[in-house]
């Protein structure tokens, strides 16, 4: 474990902070969406289709697309649900070097049969931030615990804790510290929040701590490695769909006999603009990959719930 280093990555990160104007300009020109583009950080509490683009402090521009789609019927078949459900998540993050410009790379790509807040089943991914040329998430189980939020409310804070098990093919071609094949398990604790500022404006936040332990053949020797990462994201959304996202529900007040109203969310997906997202990731421990600490600024679009 001790022979895996990250010095070159840290040097590149240090350069990134000196090119902010270039990065902002590049971000504005880059199409993109809604997934963090950070290793492990994920947002299973929102469902839909999204694109994001941005730039980060390691002098890369990012484009990310994500979709929750109906691909396969839910286990149990047509008889149970009478059709497929939107459990399958597809996502891809591409990055391009900005200094010098060029060298487009797929940083992360994932297909996962079921990616729900409480259960992940059969995922396959390529993730350079984890040094994985290819990885499989066999099963992940999580307990979501709402710390804040009410039925029908539009603001909430949900904590999730859990773990997954899977396999990772570590490859230096995918920015791993060393080549290898390992069994891996990631323990996760996250806080996921949304604060509705009005019927159309909302701030979302995600803070996540993960610890990945991996053991197997690394550099043709039996070894183990690990990654501890903390990621955070804060983003501002505005709903630009036609029609109000909420409606007024009248009722007769039992005491006064007068009509009062409460607000209720309307059906259907909404188109939202992510005006800005600021993300950051730091890794106090990482013996698997050459990934470095980064901060990212993004803009994007989302069509979802």
């Amino acid at each position: 474990m001790g022979n895996i280093t990250r010095s070159s990555a840290r040097a590149a990160a240090a350069m990134g902070s000196r090119t902010a104007p270039t990065l902002v300009l590049s971000a504005a020109l880059t199409l993109a969406v809604h997934s963090p583009g950070l290793a492990l950080a994920d947002d299973t509490l929102h469902e839909g289709i999204s694109v994001e683009g941005g730039a980060r402090t390691d002098q890369k521009a990012l484009a990310h697309a994500q979709a929750d789609v109906a691909v396969l019927p839910f286990p149990g078949g047509v008889g149970l649900w009478n059709g497929p459900i939107d459990a399958t998540r597809l996502e891809i993050t591409a990055r391009e070097d900005l200094n010098p410009i060029g060298h487009l790379t797929v940083e992360q790509a994932r297909v996962q049969l079921i990616r729900w807040p409480h259960v992940h089943v059969l995922g396959v991914e390529h993730d350079r931030r984890m040094g994985s040329m290819l990885a499989a998430e066999v099963l992940g189980l999580y307990v979501p615990l709402p710390l804040l939020g009410e039925i029908g409310g539009r603001s909430w804070l949900v904590m999730q804790g859990g773990a997954n098990i899977g396999y990772r093919w570590l490859s230096t071609d995918a920015e791993a510290s060393a080549d290898g094949h390992v069994a891996a398990s990631t323990v996760l604790l996250s806080l996921n929040a949304q604060a509705a500022l009005s019927s159309r404006w909302a701030v979302r936040g995600l803070f996540e701590g993960t610890y990945t332990a991996a053991a197997g053949s690394i550099d043709d020797r039996a070894k183990y490695g690990h990654v501890a990462a903390f990621t955070g994201r804060l983003s501002l959304y505005v709903d630009v769909s036609r029609g109000s996202p909420i409606r007024l529900v009248p009722r007769t007040d039992p005491t006064t006999g007068g009509v009062t109203y409460r607000r209720e969310t309307n059906e259907g997906r909404r188109l939202r603009v992510m005006l800005l997202a600021i993300e950051g990731e730091t890794r106090p421990v990482d013996t698997l990959s050459t990934a470095k600490d980064i901060a990212t600024a993004k803009i994007g679009l989302e069509y979802g719930y």
Binding site: D86, E150, A193, R262, T265, I278, Y305
Partner: protein
């Protein structure tokens, strides 16, 4: 590098600030447990208009003639509601709409239910369901001997489906009015089934042999409900004091092989108890009285005050009767009534009890909704009417509270400490809600509603109200 780290930390700090701000503004509408030292209902309270109300008796539904009259009344009511919808109104696959429909179908088939709803203009759905329910009764008598009552049940479920998902108002009626209409559909279903089964029971008692397939009363007791037991075993590693409570709770549920009906034996015991039946009938009459006198709904906790009057301030009896009737409405009714009839055991008294218990489940919900106060925020209501004075909740699922108050009481009587009971009920609730997320997410997707956050928030709110009920039950039965 230092700059990067600083940016990351600032982001995390900002997020934490927002999270803390959100925590600080948590709504007081959240369900709250009674204080541990509260002695429920021991304080003298001011006069209650609900407790003092002179309530007229409701005609007992224990004879076929009474049931026939009620069915005719309900037909007339539905015809009035449906007056603006053509008499030949149809939807695709009317046969399916009018065909057999059980709670199991209702729970597991969101897409067909939703498709039925989407076939009908939403703002005409109440009127159209009234028409369709009538059409089912008049034109679709089925090979399995039903009288088309399943259409009424299915329509009631579809409206419930809207209500569960906070869409009842999109029918163009107030939420409470939609529930009142739903209750009429359910009453039609219940009355029609009881009418048939009472006739069958009478025939059996008269010596007419009626063959029947193995049913609920033949089913083996599921003393080892495997999933629950395994979960209990797993939990015991973390909380040994909860293990025996979970074991006894599973026994209390009294599940049977191939059936989901809970509390079957306890429900039958209640129906053998003249005093419990008196409470049930008096409460049912009071609910009907409230419909005619909605001004009584303005009294905070007025329904509970009435319950205390009916039971002679016996909160244990109140949570037993309402806790058990809360489980009768769909599954127990469907499983137990035919089984009793096939054996000639569906007596007039039991038929009446099933009628009143099944309907009370819905009527408590309807009246609770009508009596609720506006919450402190822009989207929630505060339900109080049928809860004790110290308790109110923003969760409409009154039956969770009563079910678990009954369970908490029974478990406390076995000597378990309140903390272990509340913990065990929380654990079993967590398992149940976790499993139900697998259903709630596709349901919500089907309906084009947020499928992820809301089911999680609602699920945990349900766990909380379960624990609140269990805590109350444990307190009153120490």
């Amino acid at each position: 590098m230092a700059t990067d780290r600083t940016a990351t930390l600032r982001g995390a700090a900002l997020f934490s600030t927002i999270a803390l701000a959100l925590l600080a503004t948590q709504s007081p509408a959240r369900a709250t447990s009674p204080p541990a030292n509260a002695a429920p209902d021991s304080h003298p309270r001011p006069r209650s208009r609900n407790a003092d109300a002179v309530v007229e008796n409701f005609l007992p539904m224990n004879r076929t003639s009474a049931l026939e009259m009620r069915v005719a009344q309900l037909h007339g009511y539905l015809a009035q509601i449906a007056a603006t919808v053509p008499t030949n109104a149809r939807i695709n696959n009317m046969g399916n709409f009018c065909g057999a429909f059980t709670f199991y179908d209702a729970a597991s088939l969101p897409r067909p239910t939703w498709l039925t709803l989407t076939e009908i203009p939403r703002d005409r759905s109440v009127e159209t369901f009234a028409r369709l329910a009538l059409e089912c009764q008049q034109d679709f008598v089925h090979e399995n001997g039903d009288q088309g009552e399943n259409g009424a049940f299915r329509a009631a479920w579809a409206l419930d489906f809207l209500y569960f998902n906070r869409l009842a108002d999109t029918t163009g009626h107030s939420v409470a009015d939609v529930l009142a209409f739903r209750d009429s559909l359910n009453e039609l279903y219940i009355a029609t089934v009881l009418l048939r089964e009472l006739g069958r029971s009478d025939a059996v008692r008269a010596g007419v042999y009626v063959e029947h397939a193995p049913d609920f009363l033949d089913a083996k007791g599921l003393s080892r409900a495997d999933v629950l037991r395994r979960f209990a075993g797993f939990l015991s590693a973390f909380s040994p004091q909860e293990q025996p409570v979970l074991d006894d709770f599973i026994q209390l549920l009294d599940l049977r092989q191939d059936y989901l009906a809970p509390f079957g034996r306890a429900t039958l015991n209640m129906m053998d108890s003249p005093d419990d039946l008196r409470v049930l009938s008096a409460f049912f009459a009071y609910e009907n009285h409230l419909r005619l006198h909605p001004e009584l709904l303005s009294e905070p906790h007025g329904g509970w005050h009435r319950l205390m009057k009916i039971t002679g301030n016996d909160a244990r009896q109140a949570v037993r009767v309402l806790g058990l009737l809360a489980s009768v409405h769909l599954i127990v009714f469907r499983d137990l009534v035919p089984a009793l009839a096939h054996r000639g055991l569906l007596t007039p008294a039991i038929a009446r009890a099933f009628y009143e218990a099944s309907l009370s489940y819905f009527m408590v919900n309807e009246l609770d909704e009508r009596a609720a106060k506006n919450g402190p925020n822009d989207h929630s209501l505060v339900y109080h009417f049928f809860f004790p004075d110290h308790y109110e909740t923003s969760n409409w699922k009154w039956y969770h509270w009563y079910n678990n108050a009954y369970s908490g009481c029974e478990l406390r009587r076995k000597g378990y400490p309140k903390a272990a009971i509340v913990g065990a009920i929380g654990s079993i609730g967590l398992l149940y809600e976790g499993m139900e997320l697998n259903m709630a997410i596709p349901w919500r997707e089907t309906m084009k509603l947020d499928p992820r956050v809301n089911p999680i928030v609602e699920g945990f709110d349900d766990v909380r109200i379960n624990q609140d009920g269990a805590a109350y039950g444990a307190e009153i039965c120490h």
